[in-house]
């Protein structure tokens, strides 16, 4: 049970919890948190598995760094979208709203096409 395997198993556990949370939770922000949990779990596994006969292997380190950058960008985009969505429809979950609470502006046939 080298320390590397320990980290890998911790990573896997994190991924499991994150995935469970991602699927079960309805609130969008909670979903986002669960996503970040899975992300860090994956990065932990990558670091954990990367021990090559003793010395640290530079390649996975670089990859994990890139992965973290991408994860942050994605989370930022998600937060912006959720905020805008809440601002427009007052909904915090992805469920189809039964009644349209916010009446959109009057229907107008404009240049850029029907009000999709």
């Amino acid at each position: 049970m080298t320390s590397a395997l320990l980290y890998a198993f911790a990573g896997v556990a994190l991924c499991g919890i994150g995935l469970f949370g991602f699927l079960r939770l309805q609130h969008l922000l909670r979903k986002l948190m669960a996503f970040n949990l899975i992300g860090s779990g994956v990065f932990l596994i990558m670091v954990g598995l990367a021990q090559r006969n003793g010395q640290p292997d530079p390649v996975p380190q670089a990859l994990v760094l890139t992965g973290i950058v991408v994860a942050i960008a994605a989370t930022a985009l998600a937060v912006v979208l959720i905020r805008r969505y809440y601002h427009l429809s007052g909904q915090t979950t992805l469920a189809e709203p039964a009644a349209k609470s916010f009446r959109p502006k009057a229907r107008s046939v404009n240049r850029e096409g029907a009000p999709e």
Partner: protein, 488 residues
């Protein structure tokens, strides 16, 4: 010469993305036209180069693997690059006229458009697994941005659902890459295949492959996991949904196909291949059935994408455990299917956009009488529909013919049923739209006439998809050119 081509291919999109970020929509449009011209010429040049002297391996900036980015430029990749160039050019041109420059949000359309294009090129040419991940992420984020652009609440909901699905898929893929790297110590696809061939593979390696395929299937919206695609593609603006359906969905499939062709032979099992095939067939049946029942025109076309994607996944069973000739035939069939579907679906979405803009409502039965008012767009919608149905002389038919032959030769006759039934079901929902448009309606005065060039673009795409059937032979001969050093 190839240096300039490669530079042009990868860096122009990024440069243009940054440039258009600084300009507003109308000035950005002019810059984009120039950029599109350059991209198309470069893609054509690359295609010609590969066609004349075969594929090659290109190390970006001269850095050696494993740290440097290694680009694999073979026939398949170049065909997809050219396809992207054509479809993106058409969608860009259409968007520049279709989108209303006044809207504040549309200012950010061009940067996202160019980021998407760069991501696509990165995926086509990507040689190692991690770079493919980065390309994939770039595409997803750009696509989500495009879907959410300037939309109302339901567009945002679709964007968020799309984002969640995409991120989940990428993470699963990343996990798979991590496990593969843990096992083999290298990330380049070519390297992994050499190690497998040298025979020291241990058991238990199918799990990473399954994980990666699962992630990619989620991003390609294969049958059980297709929930996010119809709202996203249906609600986005027409040029955006054309780009999404034609290209973005194909990127993740392209990676899955690459993995399967290189690793699937040894790691994947017969059961896995058949399972994916069955999922594909269910996608064809279920997608077509739902497309037939949709009330809105763009939803019909979106669900049709779900159905047509089902065909692509027939590649897995048809190339597993079969002779090289049959696998080659299946690959040719699937490539033709991808190319013709991309062209036809783009044409269909753009034409649908025109129809909706002129009729003023996006319901199918509001199309009555449009055949007299807007015959050109309707005709291109029809031609694209013919290609989706796989009726001669379109590219779709050539693809269906090759798949028929491959499944017959490989003895898996049950795929024949799927192919033929799929054709008939797609005929069902395409002819439902024809029916609606042929109904004679007298009150066509309040229709709005879109500008002439808006109607020409879908017609060009539809004709290319039609003509693909006739020129299938040269396209396929270039597609199957391997790049040196690869154990094809």
């Amino acid at each position: 010469m190839t240096l300039w081509l490669m530079a042009g291919l990868l860096f122009t999109p990024l440069a243009w993305a940054v440039l258009t970020l600084l300009l507003d929509f109308s000035k950005g449009r002019v810059v984009t036209w120039l950029g599109i011209l350059v991209q198309v010429l470069v893609s054509l040049g690359l295609w010609a180069a590969v066609a004349s002297d075969g594929g090659f391996l290109y190390l970006l900036g001269g850095w050696q693997a494993p740290l440097g980015i290694e680009l694999r430029v073979d026939g398949l990749a170049v065909t997809f690059v050219l396809l992207t160039a054509l479809v993106a050019a058409a969608c860009g041109w259409h968007a520049s006229i279709y989108l209303d420059p006044g809207k504040p949000w549309h200012r950010y359309f061009w940067p996202l458009f160019w980021f998407l294009w760069a991501g696509l090129n990165a995926v086509w040419l990507g040689g190692d697994l991690f770079n493919l991940y980065v390309g994939l992420e770039l595409i997803s984020l750009a696509a989500v941005g495009l879907v959410a652009l300037g939309g109302q609440a339901d567009a945002l909901r679709a964007a968020i659902r799309y984002l969640m699905a995409a991120l989940l898929g990428s993470l699963a893929y990343l996990l798979g890459v991590a496990l593969i790297y843990g096992q083999f110590g290298t990330l380049s696809l070519a390297g992994v295949t050499e190690l497998i061939n040298s025979g020291d593979v241990q058991s238990g390696l199918t799990f990473p492959l399954i994980l990666m395929l699962l992630g990619l299937a989620l991003k390609t919206a294969l049958f059980p996991m297709h929930g996010w695609l119809p709202p996203a593609h249906g609600i986005a603006k027409s040029p955006v949904s054309a780009l999404l359906s034609a290209l973005v969905v194909k990127a993740s499939f392209y990676i899955a196909a690459r993995l399967w062709l290189d690793l699937g032979g040894d790691l994947g099992g017969y059961a896995l291949a058949q399972l994916i095939g069955v999922l594909g067939s269910l996608a064809v049946i279920w997608g077509s059935w739902l497309a037939f029942r949709q009330a809105k025109l763009k939803q019909v076309v979106a669900y049709s994408s779900v159905a047509q994607i089902g065909y692509l996944f027939l590649l897995f069973p048809l190339t597993w455990g079969v002779t090289d000739a049959i696998s080659q035939q299946a690959q040719q069939g699937i490539t033709l299917q991808v190319v013709s579907h991309a062209l036809a679906k783009a044409a269909m979405f753009l034409a649908a956009g025109n129809l909706i803009m002129s009729v003023g409502s996006n319901r199918v039965d509001a199309l009555a009488g449009v055949s007299r008012f807007l015959p050109f767009s309707l005709f291109s919608f029809g031609l694209a529909g013919v290609s989706l149905m796989g009726l001669p002389p379109t590219g779709g038919f050539a693809a269906k013919w090759l798949l028929l032959q491959a499944s017959l030769a490989s003895g898996q006759w049950w795929w024949l049923g799927v192919l033929l039934a799929g054709g008939l079901l797609s005929a069902a929902y395409v002819f439902r739209v024809y029916r609606a448009s042929f109904i004679e309606a007298t009150d066509t005065d309040q229709f709005y006439h879109p500008s002439r060039s808006l109607e020409v673009i879908p017609m060009i795409l539809a004709l290319m998809s039609l003509g693909l059937g006739l020129v299938a032979e040269p396209v396929l001969s270039v597609m199957s050119l391997p790049f040196e050093g690869a154990s094809q």
